[in-house]
Amino acid sequence: MVTQAGPTEQAIWEVLRTINDPELPIAITDLGLIREVEVEGARARVTMVPTFSACPAIGVIRQDIRARVLTLPGVEEVEVELSFAEPWTMKRMTERGREQLRQHGLSVPPRLGGGEVTCPFCGSTNTTLENPFGTTLCRAIYYCRDCKNPIERFRSPSD
């Protein structure tokens, strides 16, 4: 009897690296949303850690993961599970992810937390909080007192 080999975890990780967050121009792996990939025969299981639990993009991301992983040869079933066992923090984001968000025009906190809010346009730290809530749950609005631009600051849940 010939059994077709199932996919490898590595092949799934590679597919996941090509899926972008629908609201941010970075891969979900650079955002640190994927915690674990497990394969059992033709079944793949992806465990996801959302930035904010109420983020409306979660549904779209789960669908994207399911659809894309299903295109891998040997995959018949894909389960995408949300996990709250460990919190999402800035540490989960890669340096490349941070850089891409900066390129996109966001002010991004350092991976180890803290830090001043730097204006992504002029580099000034003479900035002030305008609104702890922004266009998405993961953004706050600041204002740059030097170049007079409003700033979108990536924010994580508060510790």
Binding site: S53, A54, F84, F133, I141, S158
Partner: protein, 275 residues
């Protein structure tokens, strides 16, 4: 670890009571989230508009997560639970169904509610039902922004000139009794506390809340209302009849019925519709 493997184990009574408790939490978040969303486009300034819309989105998202877990114990999908029940099936506290009134009442309610929510999330986070403890820890980090926001506005309104302080005090006086009722027990609550599923009894949670809230109100210069709590709820109008209100037992005001009629209209027209 799933809910079934938790200390709830095979105790049907505890599973039903805990399902009811989670339903109450979900209903609070859904109904208040809906009220907050009514400010979208109408808040006093654009920042508040964005903030209240975000808080609404977040509360409704949290409701969904609690409905999922309540559904594991009681049956039903989050949509079934959110849209498919009559008003007397809802277990939210009456406080959250009250219409928004003015901005002062909205802020006072937000402040009192989010403080209460923090106390009960702390209790769940320290509890033995692992999936709920994990979830509570997650929500607590997100809710911190709501807490800060409500408190900041309360301070601003209480410190403003003109009629602002008097109006916010009036809102506080009118919300107080119903805010205390946020800690009213659900069916089988005693058993949950006795079995350690919820580590802190409702009265103890209420006392913690009141301690925290009193300190902040006094620091802001607002008068802490007298405890006027009536054990069996207080008289109120429901569809023209005067009766005791108790949201945790499904006895609501007509305001909830009106809210649900609007919120569920699409679902009732086309059950299972996605939009």
């Amino acid at each position: 670890m799933s809910l079934a493997q938790s200390p709830l184990g095979r105790r049907d009574d505890l599973r039903a009571a805990f399902g009811g408790y989670l339903l109450a939490l979900a209903d609070d978040e859904l109904v208040l989230g809906h009220r907050h969303s009514e400010w979208t486009g109408f808040a006093p300034d654009i920042e508040s508009d964005v903030a209240l819309s975000s808080v609404a989105q977040e509360e409704i998202g949290h409701a969904r997560l609690f409905y999922e877990r309540a559904g594991d114990l009681l049956g039903g999908t989050p949509d079934d639970l959110a849209y498919g029940r009559a008003p007397d099936g809802f277990r939210n506290a009456v406080l959250v169904e009250r219409p928004n009134g003015d901005w002062g009442f909205t802020i006072v309610r937000m402040f009192l509610y989010d403080r209460a929510d923090a106390v009960r999330l702390d209790a769940l986070a320290g509890g033995p039902v692992e999936p709920l403890a994990d979830l509570a820890k997650t929500l607590r980090r997100e809710e911190k922004y709501h807490l800060l926001y409500g408190e900041q506005w309360l301070r601003r309104l209480a410190g403003a000139s003109g009629s602002s302080k008097a109006r916010v005090q009036e809102a506080l006086d009118s919300a107080w009794v119903e805010a205390e009722s946020l800690f009213d027990p659900v069916d089988g609550h005693e058993g949950l506390v006795a079995a350690g599923v919820i580590p802190t009894a409702p009265d103890a949670q209420r006392a913690m809340w009141s301690g925290q809230v009193d300190v902040i109100l006094e620091a802001i210069g607002l008068r802490v209302p007298e405890g006027r709590r009536l054990p069996k709820g207080r008289p109120g109008g429901v569809d023209g009849h005067v009766r005791d209100l108790n949201g945790r037992a499904g006895r609501h005001t007509a305001d909830l019925r009106i809210l649900l009629e609007e919120m569920t209209s699409v679902w009732r027209t086309e059950p299972g519709a996605k939009w």
